[in-house]
Structure formats: C-alpha cells, structure tokens
Assembly symmetry: C2
DNA sequence: TTGTAAGCGTTATCAT
DNA sequence: ATGATAACGCTTACAA
C-alpha cells in the first residue's frame, strides 16, 4: 500500500492534478464520478493513484458553493434528553449519513424556531426536519425556499411523517375496555403538540364509542415528565371517585404515575391499571412492567430523513401522502381485568 | 418596519451592494464587523438598511471557503439513546451555538471512528469533540491537522474534559463502608472505556484501603444496559456467598439490578444495598429511589465545547490542564446499614 | 473611506 | 478525452 504524504485536508485537487500530470478539472471529473463524463481509464488510474498517495479528500465546502447544495440537513428537536426524541435523532442521523448528508443538530430550548431556521439557512442546508415544533406559529417567510419535513405534525404545506397517534389512543382504550374497565382516566401533556392531541382524541373517541364517558376530573393535563405523571396520579387517587385505570400521553407520565401508586400503596394492576405510550426502554424497568403502546421513534426519524432527501433530490413520486406508521399495543404487567368483572 | 422582499438566501451581498449604491466588498466590510475596517456611518447605515430590506443573510459556505474556517464542529458520541450521552450532546450543542458554531452530530454505532473523522474533515470542521471513543486505537494520521477535544478519556496528545471518575468510585465505596458493609460487589461495563475503568479503580482502591477485599466472583463485567445489570444481580444472588451491597459502573446497570432484586423478592435496601453512578433522571423512578453518584453530563459537554472553541480560536491560556469535574454522592433509598452492624 | 482585483477549492461549460 | 475558462459568494489586500 502506498504511503500517504499527509491526509491533511490542505491537499487540493490541484496538487493531485500536478502529481498525476493532468489538469485540475480532470481530477474533479474523475473523482466526482459524474456519469456523463467519460475519462480514459489510463488517466483515471493515474489520478486515482495520485489522490490515494496524497490522501486527497475533496473539500465539501467548495463543492457546496459551486453546486449550491450543501448535502447538509438541519434537524430540530424540542429536547434531546427525552428518550423518544433521542431515538428520532438517531434514526434520522443514520439515514442521512447513509445518503451522504451530514446533519446539523439543534435543540429548540430557549432559542426560537425562527432563529434556528435562519442560521440553518445561512449554512445553506438543503432541508430541515422539524420534530414536534410549533411550525404553524411561525411566519411563512421563515420557511421560504427551504425544504421542510415535519414529524408528528400534519400540514398541507409540508410533507411529513407521523405515527398513528389516534390509533395509539384507540388501542389503549380498547385494551382497557376489553378488560372490563369503565372508570378510566386520561393524563396528557399540557404541551400543545399535535401528536399528543391525537392520542387523546383516539382514546376519548374509543371510550365514547363504547358508551363510556370521561368526566373532567379524570382528565388531567400536566407537564410531560415523571414528576408530572406522579402528581397527576396523586390527584387522581385523592378523588372521592377513583378511576380503576388510566391512559397516559407518554411513558414518562405513566412511569411517574406508577411510582405514585407504589408510594401510596395502591396495588398495580389490581387496584389501578396503567397504560403508557411510546414504549421507551425504561417501560420494562418497573415492577410490574408497563403496558404501553409502542411507537417506532427511530423509524420515524429514519423515514423523515428519507423523505427529505427524496424531496431535495426530486426523486420519488409526486408527494404521495405517506400513511402513519403503525403502533402496537404491548401488554405487560400494569393492566388487569376490572375486579368486579372477574366472574364474567 | 421595512417590508422584506424575500428572506430567500439567494439574496447575495451583490444585491445589497446594488441597492445601497456601494461596491460589494463594502457590504462585506460593514456586515463582517471587521474591527480594523472603518466605514463612514452614512454608508454603513445605507448598507444595513438595504440588507434589512432584502432580508440578506451572508452565505456561511462562501465565507468558510475563503476564511478556511467553517465555524462548524463535529461531535461524535457512542450512542444518543443513552441518557448520559444525550445530556453531553445537549450541553455541547448549547455552548457551540452560543459561540457561533454549528455542530455536526455523529453516532458511532457501526461506522468506524476513522471514517467519521474523514468525512468531518472533508466538511472542513474546525474541530471535533470525541466522547468515550476509542481514540487511542486509531492511527495518528486520522487526526492530522484536526482540533480534538476528548471527553472522559485522558491523553497527552489532546486536551479533554473529564469527571472525577475515580472519585465517584471512591465515594461509593466510602459510603458503603461507612454503613458497615464488608461484603461488597462491583458490576462494571464490559466496554473498555477509560471513565468506567477509573470508577472501578477508585472503588477497588477505597475498599483495599479499608482492608476489604473484592473476591473475583463479586466482580462482574457485563454490557452496560438494564439487562446486563439484571443478569449480573441474578448471578450474584445465586452465589453461595451473597454480597450485602453492590456498586455499579452506571445507573443503567444499577437499575437493572434493582429490578432483579424486586423480581426475586430480595428486599432493598435491607437485604441488598445498591449504588449507581451518573444520576440519570430515572434513578428516582424506582422504589426505593436509587442511591447514586451524580456526574454532570451536560456540564461535561458544555466544557468540552468551550475548550474546543478556545483551542480553535487560540484564546485562553497555554493548555492549562483542567481538573476533573467534581461528582457528588446522592444518598437515596437503596442503601442502608449492614444488618449485623446495626447495634453499633 | 471606498472601489478594484485576486483568490478560496470546487464544478460546469465550453473549446480543442 | 481533456484542458482552458468562468463562475459560486464571500473576504482581504491594495489602490485610488
């Protein structure tokens, strides 16, 4: 194997050209693997060898400038600390890398979405994936000339991917109903995120379809955290009329509730059935393990990236509306038949 | 407020120049806020207004090409799904953004470190943060001409930041010893990561200093996951000679062990004391809550980014060796005095 | 103080 | 098949 002089990126296509005894554009022709440009296999060999020997790596920045394509994507998520979003990021990053795109990661936190879009645009990203960001609240101008893909947030302006959030809620409700529960609570995130609203809607509708009502004191909105879920369950348990089961907008909430029950000596699932949503790894940590609705977070990220790349490159059909990714009820230990119905 | 024509990034400094009636370099001079270039405040005003009106955003790619600085950082972590690394990423991203740098996120997974470095270099990143990657196993050439900062992985070639891993192990040991435990196990990740080895070393040394030995059947190495911890604890409990307490290389392992004890009816902390390490959010989920050693993951990421930027920009002192970030023992519910010693 | 010119490292359009 | 030549949008001397 040839000895590399320096894999230093200061080596330019000029250097390679000099060493191979060809012109600089020829080097570009050889290495960019432009299909419509044939080059004599003899010179091709010489160029490749020279490049190899010099450890040449094309300067992507220069390429971006002239091609007006950066082969870079922006990825904006609310909170990387949340396992669910971490998985989305992981999936998106993998696909993007496979497709030859690099990804600029942004956490929303206190920076307004608009600013993120601005700075990403300044970096000439070819597109942006927005996960659960309040895209509708931002002036159109901010998106001008940007390829956008939304995750869990339908829009008729931009394409997107989503899980079957309504189906998730429905699956949870039907599971609980089938077990004989009729006094069922719902605990949802206070954040106004479309996916969460849909989970709630699917749940509420399925209850209604079964003739089961959801009184307001059993419908609680709290921050989507462990503490939020814990507080909500405490409140529920303090009610004169306790529910016998509850569905939660995500696993964090459900796990918080799980803890509240354990602390207060409320037996799970005998005295209280719990259903979460997402199926994060920690759902199996608690005892009994959490019954939940599995949502394919990584797959969501992966598809978003794939969709965006397709959009950028103009490949793929004419914006075929992708149907939501299916969710799957995972029955574990936190749900049991409603006590009174056992004889049935 | 003036009406923007289009905040489209196709607006170039030329357009601004035309509208302001100045030459293009003048626009550059005004907007790049180059200190050593004074421009008449009248023209400055005109330029700024024109830029504002056209919604001009400088093309960072073009700037990168000529400055030979991309104001972009690479950030390579083993696994974003791991809460700890997610926090590191979050901290690093925040600081980088504050300092005007964008970050390319890379998950190691199956892609070899060398490849990541290569593609990041092709993108002209100004530096790379490497978290718990096997940097020493990679040929020097891969790092040639790259600014590197290591996290939790000391090296005399590159600067880095680390937590006081040895102190973490020591703190855990001293806590357990103070409670009267003498039969103490250690469960560590099988992965050969420096930080983990140091946690182990601190732990083992503190035991030795107290005259307590760690027989080999109480020292277990398993994958750093919930399942790994669960399996390790099962094995420990199956031993003819059970330990009365155990320290774990990270919280995932400890939580897995927690679950194993619960499943097998081993009372925590009465029959088994557990100490984790990291203090991830889920440490408080279980009942009783996990005693652990808190490691400032976000701060680690933040400092790494700060250090890298300093290195890149040549500011800051001459590579002052930063001391490890302090860790803190958080005593919660999984540790109790050794039964026999209660009378003392 | 400001305009002119050169060049960053590529790709792309021509001639040859 | 390959080599000039001209961009891409910006920064940075150097003139004017």
């Amino acid at each position: 194997m040839a000895r590399h002089h320096r894999s230093n990126s200061r080596t330019t296509s000029r250097d390679v050209a000099a060493r191979a005894g060809v012109s600089q554009p020829t080097v570009s022709l050889v290495l960019s693997s432009n299909p419509k440009a044939r080059v004599a296999s003899a010179t091709r060999e010489r160029v490749l060898r020279a490049a190899e020997e010099l450890g040449y790596r094309p300067n992507v920045v220069a390429r971006s400038l002239v091609r007006r394509r950066s082969y870079a994507l922006g990825l904006i998520v609310p909170d990387i600390g949340n396992q669910f979003f971490a998985d989305v990021v992981s999936g998106a990053e993998r696909v993007a890398t496979e497709e030859g795109y690099a990804v600029f990661l942004r956490e929303q936190r206190d920076v307004p979405l608009e600013r993120h879009l601005e700075t990403l645009r300044a970096r000439q990203v070819d597109g942006v994936i927005l996960d659960a960001a309040g895209a509708s609240a931002v002036p159109q101008a901010a998106f001008e000339g940007l390829n956008i893909v939304l995750i869990d947030q339908p829009s008729d302006r931009w394409p997107g991917v989503a899980s079957d959030a309504e189906g998730a809620g429905r699956a949870a409700a039907e599971h609980l109903l089938a077990l004989g529960h009729r006094r069922i609570a719902f605990v949802g995130p206070s954040a106004d995120v479309h996916g969460f609203r849909m989970r709630e809607r699917g749940f509420v509708r399925a209850l209604a379809a079964a003739g089961v009502s959801l009184p307001s004191q059993w419908l609680r909105r709290v921050p989507a955290t462990l503490d939020g879920g814990q507080g909500a369950m405490r409140a529920l348990l303090a009610l004169p009329q306790r529910p016998s089961a509850a569905f939660f907008g995500n696993d964090l909430l459900a796990l918080g509730a799980h803890k509240a029950c354990t602390q207060l000596g409320v037996a799970i699932p005998e005295a209280m059935s719990l259903v979460g949503c997402d199926d994060i790894a920690f759902a199996r940590l608690v005892t009994p393990e959490l019954t939940t609705v599995a949502v394919p977070a990584r797959e969501l990220g992966a598809r978003a990236a794939r969709l965006l790349v397709r959009e950028i490159e103009g490949t793929g059909g004419p914006a075929q509306k992708p149907r939501p990714l299916p969710v799957r009820l995972v029955v574990r230990g936190t749900t049991a038949p409603y006590p009174q119905e056992r004889s049935a």
